[in-house]
Subunit: 221 residues, 2 copies
Amino acid sequence: MQVRREPLADQAAELLLTRIRAGEWQLGQKLPGETTLAPQLGVGRSTLREAIRQLAGRGVLASRQGAGVFVTALDVPEDWDLVLRRADIVSVIEARTAIEAEAAALAAVRRTPTELRAIGRALAARARRRPDVEEHVDADMAFHRAVVVAAHNPVLVDLFDSFVPRSRIAMVEMLRLGTAADHAADHTAHDLLHRAIADRDADLAARLSRTHLTSLKESLT
Amino acid sequence: MQVRREPLADQAAELLLTRIRAGEWQLGQKLPGETTLAPQLGVGRSTLREAIRQLAGRGVLASRQGAGVFVTALDVPEDWDLVLRRADIVSVIEARTAIEAEAAALAAVRRTPTELRAIGRALAARARRRPDVEEHVDADMAFHRAVVVAAHNPVLVDLFDSFVPRSRIAMVEMLRLGTAADHAADHTAHDLLHRAIADRDADLAARLSRTHLTSLKESLT
DNA sequence: CGGAACTCACTCCTCAGACAAGTAGATAGG
DNA sequence: CCTATCTACTTGTCTGAGGAGTGAGTTCCG
C-alpha cells in the first residue's frame, strides 16, 4: 500500500466537510472568515480558498464577496460516478470482478443464439491488431459488455457501464506505459470465455472472468 | 434584472467547462499548464487554480502534481438511485449476489479482529426475535453491511448501500405477506458465514453468500 | 547493445503580502 | 423614525517566491 501524498487543499476540504456534517455549522450559516479559518486549519489562505472552491463545486458551500462563506447543503447527493472517478483503481477492478463474474455465469445460462453471435463478433473485432491503444481498449470493452448484456440483467449492464470510463483510463494508461501486454495469452483467455458461454458452462465462465480481471488488477499494482 | 457581478474564478470555470464540452481536450488528456492557460483566459494564476478546483469538485478535472491537469469527465451524468428503484427486484438481488459474494471472499482475507467482532455483534443482534418486521430487516442489513465493510473496498460498500433501500422494501413486503420464513435455518446460514470469515475461508464465504441470496431470490419469484 | 541511474526542464503545490471590491452593522443627521 | 454615510470586516484578485513531484532525455556501466 503506497502512501499517497494528498494535496493540503484536498485534506482541508475533507476536514471541512466532516466538520460540516458533524453539524458544527448549520445549514445557511456563515463559516468563520478565511483569515480565521486558515490558521486554525494550519494552511495558508490561498490553500483554504481552493478547498472552499472545491466544496463549492460540489454544492456544499457558496461564498458571497463581502459577506462570507455559507453552508448550502449538508447532505451531498453522493454522485455515484464521482465516487468511481475518485476511487482507487484496485477497488474499481475488484468491483468489476464481482459484476462480470456473476454476469458471465448468468450469460452462460441465458444467452440467446443472437447474443452469442454478438459476443463472437466482438471477439473477432478485438483480435484485430490496432496501432491505436485507445481503439484496442474500446474493442476490449465492447467484448466484455456483450457478455454482460447476454446476462439479461439491466442492473448489471448499468453497473458495468458506470465502470467503463474509469477502467478505460486506467487501461489506456497501462498499455501506454509499456506494461508488457501479452496479446496472444490475452486473446486465448477471451476465446475460452466465449466458448464457455457457448457451452453453457456457468461455473467455468465465472472462473475465467475472475482470473482474467485478477491478473489485470495485479498488473496495475 | 441587475447585472450580477460574477467572480472571475466562476466565469473561468464555466468557460473551461464549455471548452471541454466542445471537445477541445479529449477525455484523459492534459490541459495546458497554469502559466499558459491563465494569461490565455486573462486571469491570474491563483484565480485559474480556483476555477480548476471548482471543476475538480464536480469531478470534471483532476490534477496531479508534477504531471498536469487532466480531463476526467465531459459531463456529470444520471441518477443511479432512480435506475434501481425502477429495476426488477430479481435483477437487484442478482447484482447484490455479485457484490456480496465478492465482498465476503475479500472480507475473509482482509478482516481485522475488530471488524470480525463487529460482524459477530451484528449477528447476535440479528438473532434476537422482534415483533416488528422492519426492525428485523434492518438488523439483517446491518449484518450484511458489516461483512462488506470488512472487505476494505469503498466501492463495494457504496454499491451495497445503494442497494439497501430497494432490497429493504422487497424484504419487508415478503415477510409481511407471510412467506414462510424459516428463522432457524436462516440463522444457521448467517452463523456459518460468520465462521467462514473468522476461519479466513474465502471460498466458503463466497459460496455461503451466494446460496443465501439465491434462495432469497427464489422465494421472491 | 541493453538497462539502470542520473539530470533537468516542466508541472502543480503552498505560502505571504498587497490592494480592490463588496457587505452589513454602527453612527450621525434630518 | 427614517435615511445617508461611515467603517470594520469579508471575499476577490494578482504577484512573486520557493518546494516538491513527474517524466523524458542522457549518460554510464556491464
